[in-house]
Assembly symmetry: C2
Homo-oligomer: 427 residues x 2
């Protein structure tokens, strides 16, 4: 299988992230090799986090798109019209596969572009256009093609979710938190596209078109943003048991698909109620599937570049792959046995016999093996007279706590086998 | 594109669920038509929820697998060896694509079967073998091929998760809850495969092989189940801020892949800590992806049949599809505008002017439009003298509450525009 030659138009954060991924592709699981046949951006001289020196430079995205050395055109220019649309159309007409992260382009011109791609028998892929690193486009389109989707809903704009959840958590005003979001790079200098709900609406329209085999018609999408949601609203809702979130949804009704974006008040048990900060989350409800929820980073150069690379990976031919996705050029990893040198905090539960000094024996055994105690809880003796004790240790090698347990058991201060459970901290 | 002819071996819950899906395929989004070329099961006479009368019956799965009218062999027999293995090998040797839900078969013989499929240039797909309706196999194999996966962890056995979460929630014993799980059909009559951790280990090994391009070697997987976890352990851990769950994981280390299943104590903020009941959840951590979490039904005939059908959908040729997954035979849905006839509970926030009778005016306006109040919270007046009031309504048409708001505004009892937010209850 020859290399797949990609042309990258747009060298912002995502474009540079993609180049970085191509440069370390030996650590990925692509079906074959990817080569960069050319790059294009507004400024060749701008300082970038990756070097573009070795790549053929094109001043014009459309020229790159049509270049005979390009198999796949990757559009990361942005904007629903103008150069992005022109270059994507040029690429499709020239019979090139297209991968794009451009949600506005797909929401506005997706029908036309899909028809053009079908006519030319090439792929038009846009995983990165919706929910960043969460692979919801292909999940909906391909993996869930065998289920009848009845509703898609989600938190599709991380900026809005960051703003509303930070306002409630910190008691700060909309303006204040928006400014922080801009400083952190979560929000643009002009945040209108995000806070108006328009960005989420583009994404919801794309997901609805896929989920319901629907003719994408963005003019029918109802859009309301978070601009008129105040701290007062968030707090009163919270006191009544609700979380207000900007929710994008598409629902199948008898007459067609209703797609809309609006702030909604979610009950505490709702799958999307606990998605805080800049995360995205999509819930797909189907028959006979039930509901599946996908949560992850909805933006950022790394997750978005991952999604673009996942689309590129799909374009290798032939389409049949090893069942586990293995290719001959992959670095094969062996399965190995986990050892006892692993370092972790641990939860240890013992039941101490009903005698004086047993707790001291326990703590001394731990100390002698160098296991340091973070928390310890001894409960009242149970009906047999045994005292349940739970210990949370600081990080230590598993070997040390196993040695401590062996000591404790040898002392005969426990009534049954101690239970050792590894602790996994928040992630 | 001609129809894809499938042969289904095994007519238990999942097999019958698949037949039911084939029968209503007009409501799915398959790339073309699926036909059932033949079925096979131990007993032809057994009473089943779907009629199999119209289908060609094969007494032997392997004969079905090799039948010239079969394009795709669907193996739902189960068991790591015996008839399932023999039939899958027969199908692959005969050059048929294979779709299977058999985790034990893939965990034990996956390498050999994948090599055979590669030799014959056919697909071997097993989405349904891991996490039921959650499409994690294809997400890991294809969508995330462009990211370097460093860890896969998850709750992959719904029976164990149901038992541990129900024990903690209800204070009942392991034996008691296991019996309920058996009654509900979550656990088998012989629950050993589940509670020993072996079922989760099969799935973790499959995910690890995909995530890390690793040679699947099930003998290296460490397996510990939930049999020795008592209510005491769950309760003490809870009081110290941890949830004990059976966690399956694969981690990439310098020397290879460590794959194991064991009960772990998760801090409250952990992505898997709140996954209760019989749900499954998988967390994939990668660079530069960050972390993605997929949650959904891990078992059951509907979700599993959905996953099988999603694999079948992948086998249509040519592989290039419409960008939105549309096919000519799909029932095209139009996008339509959402109306005001939608029925929902609503959250309404107003700020009432500093005069007597304003609250009465509000509640009367609601009553006159037939909007019934579920909860109402009036807070102290703010520095401007306005009183914030939040109302949670019972279900009503949006039109009615909009009329009530118009009344309220006409009365001049509010100091700014009321905020109306739709309520979405737990799902």
């Amino acid at each position: 299988m020859g290399p797949l030659r990609i042309g990258i138009a747009g060298l912002g954060h995502v474009g540079c992230g993609l180049i970085e991924l191509v440069q370390r592709q030996d650590r990925l699981r692509l079906p074959g090799r990817v080569e960069i046949a050319g790059v294009s951006a507004r400024s060749q001289s701008r300082n970038r986090p990756v070097s573009t020196d070795g790549y053929t430079w094109f001043d014009d995205a459309a020229t790159l798109a049509e270049d005979p050395n390009v198999d796949v055109f990757v559009e990361l220019v942005g904007g629903s019209d103008g150069p992005a649309k022109f270059a994507v159309e040029s690429a499709l007409r020239a019979g090139k596969h297209v991968v794009t992260a451009n949600k506005a382009l797909i929401a506005k011109h997706g029908n036309m572009l899909a028809a053009l791609a079908a006519e030319k028998q090439v792929d038009l892929l846009f995983e990165a256009a919706v929910a960043g690193g969460i692979p919801v486009v292909r999940v909906l389109r391909d993996s869930l093609a065998g289920t009848e989707v009845t509703r898609v809903s989600g938190i599709l704009n991380g900026t809005c979710n960051f703003i509303t959840s930070t306002m409630l958590d910190t008691g700060r005003s909309y303006e204040d938190v928006l400014e922080e979001a801009q400083k952190r790079g979560y929000a643009e200098a002009d945040p209108t596209l995000d806070v108006s709900g328009m960005d989420a609406a583009h994404k919801a329209a794309i997901l609805s078109a896929i989920a319901f085999s629907a003719d994408l018609d963005f003019s029918k999408v109802s859009v309301r943003g978070i601009e008129d949601i105040g701290l007062l609203d968030l707090r009163l809702a919270d006191r009544l048991g609700f979380r207000i979130k900007l929710i994008a949804e598409g629902v199948l009704k008898a007459e067609g698909v209703v797609c809309r974006v609006e702030p909604m008040a979610l009950t505490a048990g709702h799958a999307l109620a606990r998605i805080d900060g800049s995360l995205n989350s999509v819930r797909v409800e189907g028959d006979p599937l039930g509901a599946v929820v996908l949560t992850g980073p909805g933006a950022g150069s790394g997750p978005t570049a991952s999604a673009v690379m996942g689309d590129v990976a799909k374009l290798f031919r032939p389409a049949i792959r090893n069942a586990f996705g293995r290719a001959d050029h992959h670095v094969a990893q062996p399965f190995i046995k986990g050892g006892e040198d692993e370092i972790s905090p641990f939860f240890l539960r013992v039941r101490l016999t009903d005698k004086p000094g047993t707790l001291a024996a326990l703590t001394e055994a731990l100390a002698e093996e160098g296991v340091s105690v973070d928390k310890l809880l001894q409960d009242s003796a149970d009906e047999t007279g045994a005292s349940p004790v739970a210990v949370v240790t600081h990080r230590c090698p598993r070997r040390q706590i196993l040695s401590a347990i062996a000591r404790i058991e040898a002392l005969g201060v426990t009534v049954d086998a101690p239970r050792l459970i590894r602790i996994e901290t928040a992630s």
